[in-house]
């Protein structure tokens, strides 16, 4: 029905609002009582949302709780209709919003595979063809023939994911469900997702776990207040997200997982002249940035970037630190902080000069500079005013 290629996703000016739950008439009596009153207040879950995802792309969706991420997935999956605009996916869609939704409690694991497969649109033959692989993937062993009400929550989710992972959809919409099970099963899930993507599946992943997004996604969309705030490369997107969250000042936050890279920034701290961790500075004060690199590299390069609250990088420096064997600490001294009032992100990254270049931002720490009365803007140019009083000339002009 749509002109979309298999695996393509298109959202155009998608808008959806919800009435606040507690104001919605729930019984006939309430409905009668509320007649004639002004309509209940509405929350906009999606506002003029545009998004295009090409087949085979993997998009990570981040945002605060209630930002509209899940609403977006539910609209894409066709579970919740839009008020206006368009939301479509090409081909078969698997929306994994909750693992095990609709399991029959008195059904065995095996019976639930049939039921859940049917709910997700598989035919009898489809389930028959997949059931052995699903049972094997779930690692439930004999428990597959036990009613699921006897399952632990971990087993329940294993079965749910095993089914979901074998739907062979063109579009995978996944909401926060990877944060389940033990780590080895989690890895198995991620591998299975990667496998499906190699076969051309498109992925939209909602997660609060930056490392999961970093591992699978090649694009990040930041959602806030039902709008798209950012759409672009992963490291930039996660940075934007952390800035939006108002990441705890002083403490640094990891933007990337340490896995599969030779050298990373393990620690990043902003300190004052006495070596105490601080996050508030006055313009002109001394500042010391301490960082620790971890990993193994012949020629490690560290980079520091200072970004203003609007996101622009206003300063960047890098240095070749030499060989790293396990751990290396370095610091960057700023004798007089040449910044004016506002919030700043200090972003650090590290890489091995001999390794292929890639995104290198690792960690972000946040600090603030207090407002002063004699300067506005970002940079303190450290100028001073001089006034020369020329009384005599004025007098002469008169």
């Amino acid at each position: 029905m749509s002109g979309l290629a298999h695996g393509e996703i298109a959202l155009e000016r998608a808008t959806r609002s919800f009435r606040l739950v507690h104001e919605r008439p729930r019984t006939l009596k309430e409905l009668v009582v509320s007649l004639g009153r002004r309509p209940a207040s509405e929350v906009c879950a999606l506002r003029d949302f545009d998004l295009h995802v090409a087949p085979g792309e993997a998009v990570g969706m981040v945002g605060r709780n209630g930002a509209g991420k899940t609403s977006l997935l539910r609209c894409l999956a066709g579970i919740v209709p839009l008020d206006s605009g368009r939301a479509e996916c090409g081909g078969r869609v698997a929306a994994l919003l909750e693992l095990g939704a609709g399991f029959g409690q008195d059904f065995t694991g095996r019976e639930n595979i049939w039921l859940n497969g049917a709910l997700h649109g598989l035919s009898h033959a489809d389930v028959e063809e997949r059931i052995d692989r699903i049972v094997e993937f779930s690692e439930l062993g004999e428990f597959i023939n036990v009613p699921v009400k006897a399952y632990s929550s971990g087993m329940y989710l294993r079965l749910g994911f095993a089914i979901a992972a074998h739907l062979d959809a063109d579009v995978l919409l996944i909401d926060e469900i990877l944060a389940v099970g033990d780590e080895s099963f989690q890895r198995k899930c991620l591998n299975r997702i990667s496998e499906q993507m190699e076969q051309g599946a498109t992925l939209v992943l909602v997660s609060h776990d930056p490392s999961a997004i970093e591992r699978i996604c090649d694009r990040v969309v930041v959602v806030d207040g039902g709008r798209k705030e950012f759409d672009g490369p992963v490291a930039e997107g996660l940075l934007h997200y952390h800035r939006m969250l108002g990441t705890e000042r002083g403490a640094s936050v990891s933007l990337r997982p340490a896995a599969d890279r030779a050298v990373t920034i393990a620690e990043l701290e902003v300190k004052d002249a006495d070596g105490r961790a601080r996050h508030m500075f006055r313009p002109g004060e001394p500042m010391r940035v301490e960082l620790a690199l971890a990993g193994r590299a012949e020629r490690a390069v560290a980079a520091l970037e200072v970004r203003y609250q609007s996101g622009e990088a206003i300063f960047r420096t890098d240095a070749t630190l030499g060989a790293v064997q396990g751990r290396l600490t370095a610091s960057f001294e700023i004798p007089r902080l040449a910044l004016l009032g506002g919030d700043y992100d200090l972003v650090a990254g590290a890489l091995d000069q001999d390794a292929p270049p890639g995104p290198m931002l690792d960690r972000v720490a946040r600090f603030s500079v207090t407002q002063v009365s004699d300067g506005e803007g970002v940079v303190d140019l450290r100028g001073s005013w001089t006034v020369e009083h020329a009384h005599s000339e004025h007098e002469a002009l008169r």
Binding site: R26, T27, A95, A101, G102, A118, H120
Partner: protein, 261 residues
């Protein structure tokens, strides 16, 4: 009607789940649902035949049971269907699938129970009457239209209850007087006071959509005769109208189900 066909496998699975949930953990399982009309029959026979002595009807237990199983099917299906969408809220909120399969599977499970009772009653009726009448061929037709009526109303009450949570209690309260106004223990024209109240008689017979179904099934099973044309027409019309109404209202009101449940 393409959707039910396309989703037959899903529907089958949903009916299985519903059946399992209904009979879980009860030692007697299905038997409970057969006992219910038998108990009602016993009480009715005691009151109307023995104590009040107003029922001068031969084979009274068969007469009673033939009507009671229709009523029990109708009432149980509606009572079970009304909260069905709300009970399946997690599913509706998180998975995309045709939602009418939920009330439809509930109604179907009740249909299965009804047919089981019918099959138990049939040989009894045949033995009691000692004749095999061609009218029996009409029984599947009546049952089909009865299912249409029940299915349509099940979808209607389920989607209404999802929007207004007092539909189920209102329905439960309404079914009791409805039960007493349905001519189950006597045919309408044998009520002692009916000759003075013709209008009420007509209302009882035709104003209550369940009554013609009760009457038709009873005519076939107990009397061994075919229902008259008026009954057949009524039954067909009531079944199809209810089904169409249920489907249309469901389609209109299911839009926001995922949000409101």
């Amino acid at each position: 009607m393409t959707r039910p066909v396309r989703h037959r496998f899903l529907f089958e699975q949903m009916v299985r789940r519903e059946l399992r949930q209904k009979y879980k953990g009860s030692a007697l399982g299905v038997a409970w649902y057969l006992i219910n009309p038998l108990v009602l029959m016993g009480a009715y026979a005691l009151v109307f035949k023995v104590l009040l002595d107003v029922a001068n009807i031969p084979d009274y237990p068969v007469f009673l049971l033939a009507g009671l199983i229709v009523w029990v099917f109708f009432a149980q299906a509606l009572l079970a269907a009304a909260p069905s969408l709300v009970l399946n809220a997690p599913l509706v909120r998180k998975v995309r699938f045709p939602r009418e399969t939920i009330p439809a599977s509930v109604a179907t499970v009740q249909l299965i129970t009804f047919v089981a009772m019918l099959l138990l009653l049939l040989p009894v009726a045949l033995v009691v009457r000692d004749s095999l009448d061609p009218a029996l061929l009409l029984l599947p037709v009546i049952v089909t239209f009865l299912f249409c009526l029940v299915l349509g109303l099940s979808m209607l009450v389920a989607v209404l209850h999802a929007h207004f949570r007092d539909v189920e209690p209102v329905l439960a309260a309404g079914l009791l007087p409805w039960f007493f106004l349905t001519p189950l223990f006597l045919p309408v024209d044998e009520f002692p006071g009916i000759d003075d109240h013709e209008l009420i008689g007509d209302l009882l017979e035709w104003g209550n959509p369940v009554a013609p179904f009760v009457d038709s099934v009873r005519t076939i099973l107990w009397a061994g005769e075919a229902p008259d044309a008026a009954h057949l027409a009524y039954v067909a019309a009531a079944g199809l109208i209810a089904l169409a109404l249920g489907a249309v209202v469901f389609r209109r009101m299911e839009r926001d189900l995922a949000v409101m449940l």
